[in-house]
Symmetry: C2
């Protein structure tokens, strides 16, 4: 792992524009398929986007991997979460054991799971004896962040190192080709960091970007908003310096997710975003590298109110809107069948000519 800033420059430079020729070819084929033009709605745009991402006129997405980055947050000491920090590592263990929501959903969807301990507190993730739920990767040089309400959560070099580690993992996942990269996370307290990041990167006030997370009551929500306000007052993060914002009010898993997005995009893999945390990471990733935006697919819109603001700022329309607020990557994996459906209809449906059927107006 490196915290060399030149590595980030190389990563950003490696993210190319979408392949216009592949998109044009996909659009042309789409128009010939045995259905009324446009009748597959958003799946048609999505199929063209997938062609542009992969550079293939008929993209085949044979693999999918959920990268679940786990880390802890010093701000939990302020009482911003309904759960204790120890739950981060416990949930990571449950994912590996195949017991968590993401384990069940990934198995159902045929997606592999990798849990990346990129900064859990204490002794970290105790891998279970059997881990049918996925593989554990440890990329950890710090046990959770500092309290972002009292100063920077991370040193700039630490944020960069986590970002670089995430990028390397995503690049490796994308290397096989035809791989959908799904983003996930575990981190008690991380909706507080996401609220601070989203406030800075979208220019919205903390009261608009801060929600109940895993289940705060009204008093808890008020306290959390005040904490986010304090974090911004103490750190004065500058949205023109996204890496600085990430270090000041982010988290190790969020920095890792920024890297995952950039690494997957550099590897021409589609990136399916999950909820609020991965959306906050996307705000930073796109600010660092605007070309990365084209590689993003918003899996769902979370019940956390700030997520809608983040998606709007990114110009992304979510595929699902089911009041989910679990994280782990669940909203991304639930959207995976739609991503595959978009690619499969483009690739596998017959054209009117192939089917010998009458097209529109041929009566």
């Amino acid at each position: 792992v490196t915290s060399d800033p030149a590595e980030l420059c190389r990563l950003i430079a490696a993210v190319g524009p979408l392949d216009e020729a592949a998109m044009a070819a996909a659009r042309a084929r789409q128009a010939q398929l045995i259905k009324p033009p446009g009748s597959l709605g958003r799946l048609e745009e999505l199929a063209c986007q997938l062609a542009g991402i992969t550079g293939q006129p008929r993209p085949r997405l044979e693999r999918a991997v959920v990268l679940v980055l786990a880390a802890d947050h010093g701000v939990v000491s302020e009482g911003v979460s309904a759960y204790p920090a120890a739950v981060t590592a416990q949930m990571a263990r449950a994912v590996l054991a195949g017991q968590a929501a993401i384990s069940v959903l990934a198995r159902q969807a045929g997606a592999a799971v990798q849990v990346i301990d990129i900064g859990t507190a204490g002794d970290g993730v105790a891998a279970p004896a059997a881990s049918p739920g996925g593989a554990l990767i440890v990329r950890k040089w710090r046990r959770g962040t500092a309290n972002l309400a009292a100063g920077p959560a991370l040193a700039r070099a630490e944020a960069l190192a986590a970002l670089t580690a995430g990028a390397a993992i995503a690049t490796a996942a994308a290397a096989a080709g035809g791989t959908v990269v799904l983003t996930g996370e575990l981190g008690i307290g991380n909706t507080t960091a996401a609220a601070a990041l989203t406030a800075v990167m979208t220019g919205q006030p903390p009261a608009a970007t801060t929600g109940r997370g895993a289940g705060l009551d009204d008093a808890g929500l008020r306290r959390k908003i005040a904490i986010v306000e304090r974090a911004l007052a103490v750190n004065r993060p500058d949205p023109a310096d996204p890496l600085g914002v990430l270090a000041a009010v982010g988290g190790l898993e969020i920095a890792g997710l920024v890297g995952v997005i950039l690494g997957a995009a550099a590897g021409r893999a589609p990136v399916v975003l999950d909820g609020y945390i991965t959306g906050a990471a996307a705000l930073v990733a796109v600010a660092l590298c605007p070309a990365a935006r084209g590689y993003l697919i918003a899996g769902h819109c979370s019940a956390e109110p700030g997520h809608r603001l983040a998606l709007a700022h990114l110009g992304l329309a979510p595929l699902l809107d089911l009041d989910l607020r679990l994280g782990e990557g669940t909203g991304a994996v639930l959207a995976l069948p739609l991503v595959r459906a978009a690619a499969a209809t483009l690739d596998q449906m017959a054209t009117f000519a192939e089917a010998g059927a009458a097209g529109k107006g041929n009566r």
Copy 2:
């Protein structure tokens, strides 16, 4: 096939209420799973509904079948569709050949497909030499409906016979247990019938329930609205007589779908609705048998404007909203992974006790 009205009474009486005990057990388990309470959003309600439908506290949905009912519409002679009537049978053949959108999506989702020719025009569906896309069932005693703008589309006995045939097919599909029944249809001109049915059953004017179908231009849309208005003026259908409405302004595939819904509900199978046509069938089914409503899951909301009105009238919130307007069952099959996800998370996630993790507030 029978057109005995007593058969309809037996069918309606066979649809029982949701199983409250199974729902309560599902809700109790849901509260113990390793996630913040409510964090799986609409999937949690859906899982409880599936428990109520199947009578199982942890429903296992191992099978899924898409019933694609195909029939033609005399009203096509009025120029209400951008496609000729021959396309209905051609598309049915393409489904059987595995070439259509529903073929691709059902294969991807692991759902079986049955194409039911319940009244196509002319020589009907010519089954291809190989039919990897599904099985063909013929339940046909009439080649398309009469022009609903000039008189009743069907005799009451014909509508009843199609309904009874659809019910028998769904009952057979549900008999294995653990089966999700997905509704689909093919029928050039059938958005005109759906617009008329929806206007009658919801009390909305034809201008609000009539859309562009497979791709009408502005002039075509105006003509189609006038046709629907004429159909209502000529037939004067009475919403208090749902079977009469179905005969007057429905269609053979729509009548069959009413039967599919009732037959599946009688067999305690969840029914996933597709778009506007299946929504219109649901309006009739629920008017005939209010208990059937609890068995319905709205797969998606179609781009056809009347569909949103139909779903609102039924009190159903769609799982997907992707601007689809293809029919065939595509929106239902795209929602199938979400239905399975709801059941799988309820059944397969660990409880906090099982995982040895700390719950909310246990810090």
